[in-house]
């Protein structure tokens, strides 16, 4: 999968982000945490791509590496056909404006010493947007109105606002520089459910108005199923499945995706559906299992899964990184269908 797509907004190819584990007096790296270990991902303009997985799978590190908050150890990141990995920090600056982030904890994402006006205007100052302080203040007022905050409160400090309101401030700050891509890293996870609904509605409206593209990093599959266009499932540093949201939830191909879906509690009182499908615990990313990283927890593993890396099996609507998917794909191509394949 080295062919770049002409329509893509952002393409990630073979991305590796390893963190050294330093030991001994000389602090030499004795091993590496392979937080991101060979990730390919394509994000198309206007879509919401959900990157899902459990804690420690590397999903947040993917986001941080795209933002160049964390240095990549290998691979490349392309934005509208430009290889960002080769740019100097000066040359990267315009892209920093195009790619903005909204994080989980709006409390720590905002500088407590700045007024809300200054928090939101920070990016405009950095990128020289708006003719002067007065114009920026007017833009801040407009943005605050757009995210349903009272512009009269712009001279207050972040701690005077509730969690939901602070997340609105973070969204206004990200929008202030007119980005194309918004990385939402667990942006609604810390919020109460009634507030989460407000923020998801706001994000949906903003996407429609401004043709925004979202990379939605989350562990919440309910939100993903409601909100995402496509889903990429990550496990221990690797993408194991990619596909359109509805197909992923209706007919998951990878055993890990199946286990994740079986773990979603049901809201239907006629049905209690949680099934613990994945065995045991998530291994440490410092010592991922050989072969398929998921094999020790997989209920349908084959003998070869513990020895060989599974291939990335391409389908018409995505990929699955599993030996069993080879059979599914052969069934799909042969047109015979073995009852397990999708014709999407």
């Amino acid at each position: 999968m080295t062919v770049l797509s002409a329509e893509a907004l952002l393409e990630i190819r073979g991305l590796r982000t390893w963190f050294p584990v330093r030991t001994g007096v000389l602090r030499r790296p004795s091993s590496y945490v392979r937080a991101v270990d060979g990730v390919d991902l394509t994000i198309f303009p206007g879509e919401t791509l959900a990157l899902v997985g459990e804690s420690g799978c590397g999903k947040t590190t993917v986001g941080r590496t795209i933002l160049q908050l964390t240095e990549a150890s290998g691979g490349s990141i392309w934005y509208r056909g430009v290889n960002l990995s080769l740019l100097s920090s000066q040359a990267f600056k315009p892209y920093r404006r195009q790619i903005q982030v909204v994080m989980q904890d709006p409390g720590s994402a905002l500088d407590p010493r700045l007024t809300v006006r200054d928090c939101i205007a920070e990016g405009m100052d950095a990128f020289g947007i708006g003719a002067g302080a007065q114009e920026r203040t007017e833009r801040v007022a407009g943005l605050m109105g757009r995210v349903s905050l009272d512009p009269a409160t712009m001279w207050r400090y972040p701690h005077e606002f509730s969690g939901g309101q602070r997340q609105r401030i973070c969204i206004a700050r990200a929008l202030a520089v007119d980005p194309e891509l918004l990385i939402c890293d667990e942006a609604t996870s810390a919020l109460d459910v009634s507030i989460q609904a407000q923020i998801l509605n706001l994000l949906a409206d903003l996407q429609a108005e401004r043709k925004l593209t979202y990379l939605f990093i989350t562990h919440d599959l309910g939100v993903v199923r409601y909100f995402a266009t496509r889903v990429a499932v990550m496990y221990l540093g690797r993408i194991v499945e990619v596909g359109p949201t509805e197909r992923i939830f209706a007919e998951p191909r990878h055993p890990y995706t199946k286990a994740l879906l079986a773990s979603i509690p049901s809201l239907d009182p006629a049905r209690r559906s949680v099934k613990p499908v994945a065995l045991g615990d998530v291994p440490s990313p410092e010592r991922p299992p050989p072969g398929c990283h998921y094999h020790p927890r997989c209920a349908v593993r084959l003998e070869r899964c513990s020895r060989e890396d599974p291939p990335v099996v391409p389908f018409s609507d995505g990929i699955s990184r599993c030996f069993l998917s080879l059979d599914d794909r052969n069934g799909q191509i042969g047109g015979q269908g073995n009852g397990r394949t999708s014709t999407a």
């Binding site: 009634s194 609904a197 407000q198 409601y226 286990a259 979603i264 809201l267």
Partner: protein
């Protein structure tokens, strides 16, 4: 029906507010739990659900206090009049507890097995080898793989899911009649949460232990609860069986909460929001505390506190609209 295992009546908990006044974080809460039953106490942050649980164990942190007029009955004893040593004997032995963050509840410098032994030895005379055997049994019962060697593990050597299993083993060690579980799966990953939910379900079925489950997640409620009580701004606003509350919620707050959960059928549509924000303790509106966010609010709501209106023998709501529909 025999007497309930736990009855809570008129429970209020207060903290110092501005100046001389005290503000209530839990306000005249009442409910009961029968032996073997699982009751879920549901609500958003700050609604008072965790403080209610702490009050039952008499662990309200100072300067908070349980207000006069509150009543807590457990196994036909008046919990609030027990002496400190008597209460200590109840806590741990008759009432077990587990919390959201297992890592903060375990001592990092002692093996997990000896911590469970310690919990047992606090309440019963037991020899070292018998205690070890009992703990290994418990570890096996809560699904800890290789329980004999995990006895000697330190907390940092265990994953979050295994630490939560150790906490459950410790809470269940003395076969309590009531287990209080405060957001027991919130900090866990999805696949591990599924394992722990199944464990909680099986444990209460096999041991007959009643469970008070504190949660904000209606999915978790549906998976493990028998009955549900919904809290808002320090009060229980609706209660009923799991099926009643999930399929026929009557209080506008319960209805709003359930509608605001992103569901697959809602794809492509806007989520229904509850407008505004959860009011903070000390800033609760007059009358019905939900009236400022309620789309159905009418004349009596801002003025008068709604009474509890029974909808069925098991379901009740505190809402003027429900009272009007049901009639006197």
């Amino acid at each position: 029906m025999s007497a309930p295992l736990l009855t809570v009546e008129g429970l209020s908990v207060s903290f110092p507010g501005d100046g001389e006044s005290r503000m209530r974080v839990v306000d005249r809460v009442g409910f009961s739990i029968a032996a073997g039953e699982t009751l879920a106490l549901v609500g958003e942050s700050g609604c008072g659900k965790s403080m209610t649980a702490l009050a039952i164990m008499r662990l309200i942190p100072k300067p908070g206090r349980i207000e006069a007029g509150s009543q807590i009955g457990f196994e036909a004893r008046d919990v609030l009049s027990l002496s400190v040593p008597q209460m200590r004997a109840v806590r741990g032995a008759r009432i077990g507890m587990i919390f959201q963050e297992p890592q903060t509840s375990l001592n990092p410098v002692t093996t997990v097995g000896s911590q469970v032994v310690e919990a047992i030895a606090l309440h019963t005379q037991v020899s070292g080898s018998a205690a070890r055997k009992r703990v290994v049994e418990l570890f096996a019962q809560v699904g800890i793989p290789d329980p004999a060697s995990r006895f000697d593990a330190y907390p940092h050597q265990l994953s979050g899911g295994l630490k939560q299993r150790v906490m459950i083993a410790m809470a269940m060690a003395l076969r309590p009649r009531l287990l209080i579980a405060d957001e027991p799966t919130t900090a866990l990953d999805a696949t591990i949460r599924a394992q722990i939910l199944e464990l909680l379900r099986n444990l209460s079925a096999t041991t007959g232990t009643a469970v008070l489950l504190i949660t904000h997640d209606f999915g978790v409620v549906n998976e493990v609860a028998d009955r549900v009580a919904v809290m808002y701004a320090g009060q229980i606003v609706e209660e009923g069986t799991r099926v009643e509350l999930l399929s026929r919620p009557r209080h506008p707050y319960t209805q709003g909460l359930l509608r605001s959960i992103p569901k697959p059928e809602a794809r492509g549509h806007r989520l229904e929001e509850i407008k505004g924000a959860v009011p903070r303790p000390g800033h609760w509106p007059t009358g019905c505390r939900f009236h400022t966010r309620c789309t159905f609010a009418f004349e009596p709501c801002p003025a008068q506190e709604p009474a509890r209106t029974a909808v069925s023998t098991t379901q009740a709501a505190r809402c003027h609209l429900v009272a009007r529909e049901i009639g006197p």
